[in-house]
Structure formats: structure tokens, C-alpha cells
Symmetry: none
Subunit: 220 residues, 4 copies
DNA sequence: AATGAATGAGGATTCATTCAT
DNA sequence: AATGAATGAATCCTCATTCAT
């Protein structure tokens, strides 16, 4: 079960040659490091150990190469964030919101950690690729909204979550989780993180906020 | 009282020519739209209605032009943290954390709203500009952390905030605020936002989390 | 047996493309005519019948192109001093100084005549290319001086040359030979020269200024 | 009695402003150091401490500036080499060739020493300025030939010089003197020269190659 | 399929020159 | 006379892309 999307891409596409694999890997590394516009195809060719022409035999243009990398990320990285784990929740695997959140954070953290370069590329190029923006907004965001509404309603019905528009609950939860992951893996990866403690604190925060009150429920 | 940094730049630097203003404005627009590496100087010149050589009379290199735009954002970004807000907190101008947060969110929202293109540029170029990274990490982030630590300790002492490492409180608060601002101004600006309600909900979330409990305090 | 250095370059480097040959020839012609700084790469490309980019595929920079032309001149310039002529002198192939000088003049005249454009380039660019200056002074000049010192000492020992610091004998001989070659091939090539007579006169001039003869007047 | 040609230029042209002087001096320095094509007008302006536009108020083009420097050198530096000192000789100030040569060498050495930058410029630019070449060949060279013929004939008549075409005697003499000056002031100025000894040796070299003596071996 | 030499449009930057002040 | 901001052509060089091998 490969977590790395590039490996998945290669595994799933049997027709991919060795050279194509090398090109893809080199491109991911370079794009993540210097950005799409800041990376030259000759650089990629050199890093991949192939001739310049070989790249264009497999990818019609440089942008084609980028899209062949980024597009799968969109569907593989973001969609599952919501969809795959959602089923477990709906199947009652997690009675409490806390448990759902914990599973989600750990799962996504592993996933992000295995795909950091891809993530960087996605974030960097989104603003300049209207195609991707559209795809992200219309397909992914829509799915998220529909599915999370179900989750939210589920936990709201059994009294675990406040009555609040689902989009807002999703935003706040996602924001808090992503804020943690961003600091953990992108901004300060060199910091000495105590992952378990930090994850529990994040869950606590999402659930019970920051206020200290005498009558507050059990806090960590 | 202009909130827009480019306007401030022009107002404060009397020696800035009309041409320089045009160049700066064109550069901001282009960089925000297509990224630094994706924008050519000839493009900027054309958009500014200026000869290409004129750009290089005022900014030695293209990167110089970028830095003259981005650097001020970094310092202006943290100005209120350092100068105004800490004193207000210590002077009891904000007795309750909620009030402090509300002021902060509104203040930063205004700032962000007035400088969206600059922000996009800053975020896009940070990964590729080690200069900026260093400046941000060593100077800006450190100052923010020191000041927010003081604020946090202040509210922890008078019992309004949980006992928790300040960096974590700062992260969670910042994450939640930035998550709101991101959705509001960058990702879905066209959505019909009820700003006041959303801000109050964000404050509530930071303070009291998402859990519904019988003994929970008054919720919005 | 090509005397022309460019031809040698091409003959010796089998990997040199047709295009590279054209570029080299065009560059030599242009540099000799208008100087290095006065020649544009687009000009060279046009004259060579090649795309401008092709130049930079073979020579990383314009200066690289210059050096690839000039550097060989420096080494070929001294080849006969080092390799052939010294041995001939020591082996008594040239019993008399006159014979050695005659051989040297003819040899260098042929060489110069076959490489006039290269020579012009070398002389023109020396003052502005510290690399070349250093190379010339430290490597070439030193080797020439060492070898010529040996030759001088040889002829001084057998009584054919005056007792005088070798550097001075070298200077005066070189000066006289180079003075002839300069007039003959660079300054007044269109003049109707009687080569044999001029060479003999030059030898005579050198000799009967340097020759030690009993009847000579007071010498310094 | 200024020996420096630039000073002379300024002294003789009363209409030259302070700024023009500064420009001329800066241009001479820069051209000598980096060549005409390698020097930018803005560089000259900065070194002269004037505005860029000021240069073009006084010299219509960059080449105009060069010619205003180089042209006088041609007439002042080379013509006097022959003409001025010639009169002394013809006036019998120097009975012996040796004395004439000594006076000539010393005079020209001083002159060259005072005008090294100008000299470098002249030599560097001659190959690329057909105007100057023509001027040099037709005017200067012609005068040289006429005048030196007189000198040569004079000393040939009174038996001090060999019977030989005057151009050849001039070439060999000039070559030897210039060879010394070149080494002394241009190539190896940092070397510890014993000027007097070197000059005498040069004279001896010239003389006892050219002198007609009963005991001399067969001459051409 | 793979190569890599060749291309030429386009990139950032420089520069001689102009002109309004 | 002097300035220096402005110009835009030209410079060196890079790069995505093509194509003969």
C-alpha cells in the first residue's frame, strides 16, 4: 500500500517506462524546490538522466508535465481527505467526534508527510493554473461540502456538535487540522515535535476551545 | 489613513516619480496574477506604460523590484502586534480575550483586504526566496512570538486562558483567524459572507470549541 | 601539415561539428576586424550562418569563445622554442648564431603569416583579459626565458655572443625580429618586400651589434 | 612645459570648461583601462562627477569623445618624435649618432612615461579606427620617411652609418628603441630597471650593428 | 523509443543618446 | 550650461521545443 502518490501513479500506469518514472521524479523534486516557472526542462532532463528530447516525447509541453503531476494530486490527496475516511465514520466506526478527528489527523499527517513535494507544488501552482482552480472549486469543494454535511449532521444529531452551518464547522475543523500540519511538516519540520501530545491538544482545541472556566468539562 | 501599502510607499517616499508609481502598481498586479518568475519585465513595462529601461533605472534587478514590494508587507504585517495591540491589552483596553480577538481580527481583515495582491505575492514567493524566508523567520516570527507570548501570559494569569504552552495557543488562534481570512478574502471572496456573524463565530470557536454540552456557556 | 591554428583545432578535435567550425571561423574573423567587445554574438551567428543559440550550446559564454580561440595561440607560439629549436642548438644543428636566427625568423614568420587574424586578436585583447596576461606572463614568458637563456649561454660560451645579461640579449633579438615581422605582416603587408634580403639584413643587424669582436669599441 | 598631452590640450583650448576637463581625464583613464568598447559613457560620467547628459553636450557621440582624445596624440606623440628632435640633429647639436640616439631615447622615454594611458588607447584603437590608420600611414609615416631620410643621409655622408636603405635603418633603430620602451614602461614597469645602463646598451646594440667599420665582416 | 544538436523567440539587463526642466 | 530621467534598440544568454539520426 504505497502512500506516495508518485509511486501509485507509476504502479497504476503499467505503460510507464523507466525513463518516464525518472522524469516524473525529477520533475516533482525540481518543481517543489524552485517552482514551475523557475525550473527548466533541461534541468529536469539532467536530473532524470535522460535527453532533453525524451521529456517531450512523453509530455507534449512543459505544462503537460506539470499537469500530469498535479492533477492526480488533486483527486488523490484532497478527495480522500474527505471521502475515504468518511465511510468509516458513517459506518459507526467512531462513536465520538474526538476519535474521528484523531483518525483523520493521523491518516492525513502520514499522507502529507509522504507527499510533501507534491503538496508544495500544488499550493504554489494553484494561483496560476485556472484549470486546477476550477477543478478544485467545482469538484473537490462541492464533494467536500456534501459529504461533510452528512458527517456534521450525524454528530449534530447525536448531540456531540453545536448547531451551526456545516460549512462553518468544516472550515474551523479543517483550518485547525491544516494549521497543525502546516506548522508540523512545512514551516517548522526541524522543530522537536511531540506528535501525540500535539494531536491531542488540537483535538481538544477543536472540541472545547481555549477558555479556562471552572465549570469547563474535563480538559487535558 | 491609507491601509494600502503601495499607497503608503508612494506617500511616504516623496522622491518616487510618477513612473515609479506606475511601475510598482503594474508589478504588483502582474506578480500577483502570474507569479514572479512567470512575469517578464517587458510585460510590466508595457502594463505600466513605461520603457523597459526605465524599470532598471529605478530597480537594479527584477528581484530588487520584487523585494521593494514584498519587504514592506512583512514589516507592516506585524506592526499592530508590536506597537498598538500589546499596550492596549496591558492597559486593560481589552479586558476580555474575546474583545482582543475581535479587534485583532477586524484590524487584520482590513489590512488583508486592502493588500490582497501583495499578500498573494508574499505567499507565492516565500518558498523560493531564501532572503525573505530568513527575514520572516528570524525577525518577524520572533517578534510576533515574543509579543503574543506576553499577551497570552497576561490572559492566562487572570484566568481567561487555559494553561498551555504559549506557542500552541498562538498557533491555534492564528490558525483559526487566518483560516477565516483565507476563506473570506482569498478562496471564496465571491461568497455572500455575513462578516459580523462569521467573526463572532470564529471568536466563539477559539474560545469554546465545537462541542455541544449541557453545561456549555452561552453560544451565538 | 597545417600551420593555421584554427585548422589544427578542427583537425585535432574530431568531435567538432561543422557548426562549431563555422562559429570559430566567423568569430576569428569578426574579433580580428572589430575587436572582442565590438563584436556581438548575433553578428557572429549571422556570419557563421547559425542560430545565435547554437553559439551558446558550444561555448558557455562569449568570453569562453574568445578563450577557446586565443589560448591555443599562446601555447603554439612557443612550441618551437621549447620543443625543437633548443635541441637543434645543443646538437650543433645550428653551429652559428646566424643560422639559428635565420631558422627562427623563417619559422616564426610562417607561423605569424598563417595566423595573422589570431595574432591581432591576441594582441588586442591581452590588455583587457587578466586571465591571458597571467597565463602569458607566468607560463609562456617564463618558459621562453628559460629556454632562450640556455641558448644564449650556449652561444656565449663558445664566444659567438657578447657577455651581457641574457634577458637583454633576448629582448634585443626578439625586438628586432618582432619589429621586422610587425612591419612585414601587420603594418605594411602591401609593401613589396624582398623577404630574403630583409631577413639577412635583420640577422646582420642583430649580429654585429651583439657579436664580440676584438676590434669592437668600448662596450658597456 | 607640460609633457602630458591632456594638460596641453586643456592649456591650449581656453574654451574648455572644468567639466570638459574632468570628462577628458575620466575618459582617458577608462579607455586605457578597459578599452573604448568596454567603457560605458555612464561610467565616464560617474568617474568625472558629471551628469550623463553633460558628456553629450560637449561631444556629440561617444566616438567623438574618443577621437578628441586620440587625434591629438597622433600629431603630438608621433610627429615630434621625428620632427622636433630632428632639427637639433640637423643643427649639428649632435655630432655623433650615439648622442643623437641618446637624446632621442631619453626625450621619448619621458614623453611616453607622461602619457602611458594615451599610448595604450592609441595602440588599442588603431586596428578598429580606419580614420586613424589612414591618418597614421599617410601623414605621419610619410613625414617620418622624409625626415629620417635626411637624418640618415646626413650620418651616412659623414661615414657614421652603413650604406643601407634609410627605411631599413629607421625600422631597426625605431624597433630597438621602441622595444626597450615597451618593456620598460608597458610590459614590465614593476621590474627594477637601471635606466642609464639599459639605454647605453640599447645604443651600443644599435650602433655596432649599424656601424661601418673596416674590420666588419661581409655585409649585405 | 531515445537522443542531443539546433533553433529562434523571448528573457533580463545595458547603453548611447535625447530632452524637458 | 547642466542635469538626469527616460528611452528603446541592442546585448548576452536561456529555454521550450523540434527533428534528423
Amino acid at each position: 500500500m504505497p502512500k506516495n502518490i508518485i509511486e501509485e501513479l507509476i504502479d497504476q500506469n503499467d505503460h510507464l517506462t523507466e525513463k518516464q518514472r525518472l522524469i516524473l521524479e525529477a520533475a516533482v523534486e525540481s518543481f517543489a524546490e524552485k517552482g514551475y516557472a523557475g525550473t527548466s526542462t533541461s534541468e529536469i532532463a539532467k536530473k532524470a538522466g535522460v535527453a532533453e528530447g525524451t521529456i517531450f516525447r512523453h509530455y507534449k509541453t512543459k505544462k503537460d508535465l506539470l499537469l500530469s503531476i498535479v492533477a492526480p494530486v488533486m483527486t488523490k490527496l484532497i478527495a480522500p481527505f474527505i471521502i475515504k475516511d468518511l465511510n468509516k465514520v458513517l459506518n459507526q466506526d467512531f462513536e465520538r467526534v474526538e476519535d474521528f478527528l484523531r483518525a483523520m489527523i493521523i491518516n492525513r499527517a502520514e499522507f502529507l508527510n509522504a507527499n510533501i513535494p507534491l503538496f508544495k507544488i500544488l499550493i504554489q501552482e494553484l494561483p496560476f493554473q485556472p484549470d486546477l482552480q476550477k477543478q478544485l472549486k467545482e469538484q473537490i469543494a462541492l464533494k467536500i461540502y456534501e459529504k461533510t454535511k452528512e458527517i456534521t449532521l450525524h454528530y449534530q444529531k447525536n448531540g456531540q456538535l453545536l448547531e451551526m452551518p456545516p460549512y462553518r464547522i468544516v472550515r474551523m475543523t479543517a483550518t485547525s487540522i491544516f494549521g497543525f500540519l502546516l506548522g508540523r511538516y512545512i514551516l517548522f519540520p526541524e522543530f522537536d515535535w511531540n506528535d501525540e501530545e500535539e494531536i491531542e491538544a488540537t483535538i481538544q482545541f477543536i472540541m472545547y476551545g481555549l477558555a479556562r472556566k471552572g465549570e469547563a468539562p474535563e480538559q487535558a
